[in-house]
């Protein structure tokens, strides 16, 4: 008892065991991301009114990220952009995960179906990812819908590979053989035996898919495909900032990009720490 009291005071996290520390990291990063989304939704358009009296201001206490050539506060713009990025990333990851689940279950159904899934995975991985997103979003007709579709339709292959490997391994298990001998249908085995085992893996895969989806969305937007210039997306903010680089307005590019990096890192951290909880072997590092 007494030792526990003593250790709590050692360092910031020193007194916590790995379990508590992991939970704390997951909790606080999730909270940060939630705060970004909520505030971006409730901020609305008002703070983004153009104000030519205060254009191109360097970062200050009043405008921590500076202002752009129309006098808009970059902090607010960045916040809105991040919110949009997280929402787009979330939507795209969810669709990709759904595709993974469907294809994963399909591949457990039989040999032909499995080769089809494997073939589809190989096909999607054979074109450079970014080019594929561009191609799909053009095919859809561009715009926000194009970007979301492009990102959503291209992030499932790697997770599907993992799920396929896991499914294959599960199918060699004794209880699945027994189920089969008892005359259970393939669908019954897939949904009752295989899917529940895959849930943690898929959940983790989805969270780790988030940062990829967000970065790809930002990249495609940066290149000029998809979202219209009026949307406060990070890709658009950075693409605009290129025009003002030689004028020395570094803050236009620096802070929005850094914020995006932090958001991506936050998702990575949540994913990694959840991974530790699910598979404690990694925690020994």
């Amino acid at each position: 008892m007494s030792t526990a009291v003593v250790t709590v005071n050692r360092g910031l996290f020193g007194g916590l065991n790995l379990r508590k520390k992991t939970l704390l990291i997951i909790g606080s990063t999730s909270l940060l991301l939630l705060a970004i989304v909520v505030s971006s939704v409730f901020l609305g358009e008002e703070p983004l009114q153009t104000n030519f009296g205060s254009k191109n201001l360097a970062p200050s206490l009043e405008h921590p990220f500076g202002t752009d050539w129309m006098g808009r506060d970059m902090f607010i713009r960045t916040l809105e952009g991040l919110g949009l990025s997280i929402l787009v990333g979330g939507l795209a990851s969810t669709i990709s995960t759904l595709l993974t689940v469907i294809l994963g279950l399909l591949s457990s159904a039989g040999k032909t179906a499995d080769s089809f899934v494997s073939w589809l995975v190989d096909l999607f991985l054979s074109i450079p990812h970014l080019l594929l997103i561009v191609l799909i979003s053009i095919g859809i007709g561009g715009g926000a819908a194009g970007v979301i579709t492009g990102v959503a339709l291209t992030h499932w292959p790697s997770l599907t590979r993992v799920v396929r490997a896991e499914t294959k391994q599960l199918k060699t298990q004794e209880y699945i053989h027994i189920s089969r001998n008892l005359g259970r249908s393939k669908w019954w085995i897939a949904t009752r035996h295989i899917l529940p085992h895959l849930v943690p893996q898929i959940l983790l895969g989805t969270i780790l898919m988030f940062p990829h989806a967000i970065l790809h969305e930002a990249s495609v937007t940066f290149l000029g495909f998809g979202l219209s210039p009026h949307e406060p997306a990070i890709g658009i903010i950075l693409s605009e900032s290129m025009r003002y680089l030689s004028a020395g307005y570094w803050w236009l590019a620096f802070f929005p990009g850094l914020s995006l990096l932090i958001v991506v890192l936050a998702f990575d951290m949540i994913g990694e720490n959840l991974g530790k909880l699910i598979n404690p072997k990694i925690a020994h590092e």
């Binding site: 379990r19 992991t22 530790k276 909880l277 404690p280």
Partner: protein, 337 residues
């Protein structure tokens, strides 16, 4: 109080063992392990920290010119004993107890100096060879440039002695047959001219001919004055060549018996478990003992064999029995006398 009670029997024990050894050779033990305990810190699902005790209160002694077999069932932590002696345990391992080599304390620093020179390990499988390195380089090991040609000559001699053809030198591990692998692994120890040889499960999956051949290598080493520790689950193989048998059970040694004690119905054996092992052999009564070893995370207060013992008494469930010197061997049992 408690301390005193624990120290006394040990003093008796060590003098006792010396007289036992004295019958064979008037030397001191080359390696003494006393009250060794080994545990691992681990994380279970959800990151709950747990402590896993693998070895507890283990004591053995190895003498020059003798083969000590450590016999126990597979997966009971015997290999970790070898790793503990060599100081190559993973970082999350916690080691307690005393080890002496050649009369001096065996610290981690000394282990680092000794291994490969004084103490050699003969590993159990081909996975202990680098899959991408030629056999000759692996047998010779890492040596200075100027010593290379001498070592090369030595390696050729050893290979010739063990009937390994010259082309084996240039092979990669996956090209070796089972028998060749065994001989290559033994060569790595022989070339090092170590005094203490620890062979970790050197016999599984060998046919009778290769088995006897492999055992003869160890006999050879002991005859040349090495102390050999043979870690195995195969009691029959151990009985063929060893001088003493240490019976390993659930992380500790229950009895160290002389090989001569294994005869008839095992009436000379001191521990019920050793007797049970002996009687389980096909050429004896072929009677399997009921139950299973306690799990590593089970906490047992009392004799570790209590649950399966046919002669248990009330005292056996309270406190670990002291190590006693009985009839030229040692045993951890309240009933033995």
């Amino acid at each position: 109080m408690g301390n005193k009670a624990e120290i006394n029997p040990k003093k008796e024990l060590s003098t006792g063992l010396e007289t036992v050894a004295g019958d064979r050779k008037k030397t001191e033990a080359l390696l003494t392990v006393e009250d060794l305990s080994l545990s691992f810190t681990q994380y279970a699902s959800g990151l709950r920290q747990t402590e896993l005790k693998v070895i507890s209160n283990l004591s053995i002694q190895a003498y020059k010119g003798e083969i000590l077999a450590i016999v126990g069932s597979s997966g009971s932590g015997k290999s970790l004993l070898a790793h503990a002696i060599l100081g190559i345990l993973p970082l999350n391992a916690k080691l307690d107890g005393k080890m002496e080599y050649d009369g001096k304390k065996l610290t981690q620093e000394r282990k680092k100096e000794m291994r490969g020179k004084e103490i050699a390990l003969i590993p159990q499988a081909i996975t202990y060879l680098d899959p991408l390195m030629k056999i000759s380089n692996q047998v010779i090991g890492s040596v200075e440039k100027e010593k290379e040609s001498i070592m090369k000559k030595l390696q050729r001699e050893v290979f010739q002695r063990y009937g390994l053809k010259p082309e084996v030198e240039r092979m990669l591990p996956h090209e070796l047959s089972g028998g060749m692998t065994r001989r290559v692994l033994v060569s790595t120890a022989v070339i090092s001219s170590s005094k203490l040889i620890i062979a970790d499960e050197p016999t599984p999956g060998l046919d009778d001919k290769t088995l006897n051949e492999t055992l003869s290598y160890f006999k050879d080493m002991a005859d040349k004055g090495c102390a050999v520790i043979l870690i195995t689950h195969d009691i029959e193989a151990a009985l063929k060549i060893s001088h003493k048998i240490a019976v390993f059970y659930a992380g500790t040694v229950l009895e160290v018996a002389n090989v001569e004690d294994f005869k008839n119905n095992g009436e000379n054996l001191r521990h019920p478990y050793t007797r049970a092992l002996w009687n389980a052999l096909p050429q004896n009564k072929f009677q399997a003992i009921k139950g299973h070893q306690p799990m590593q995370d089970e906490v047992i207060d009392g004799c570790i064999f209590y649950d399966r013992c046919s002669k248990k008494k009330a005292i056996c469930s309270r406190g670990i029995p002291q190590l006693k010197q009985v009839n030229g061997g040692v045993v951890r049992c309240n009933n033995a006398s």
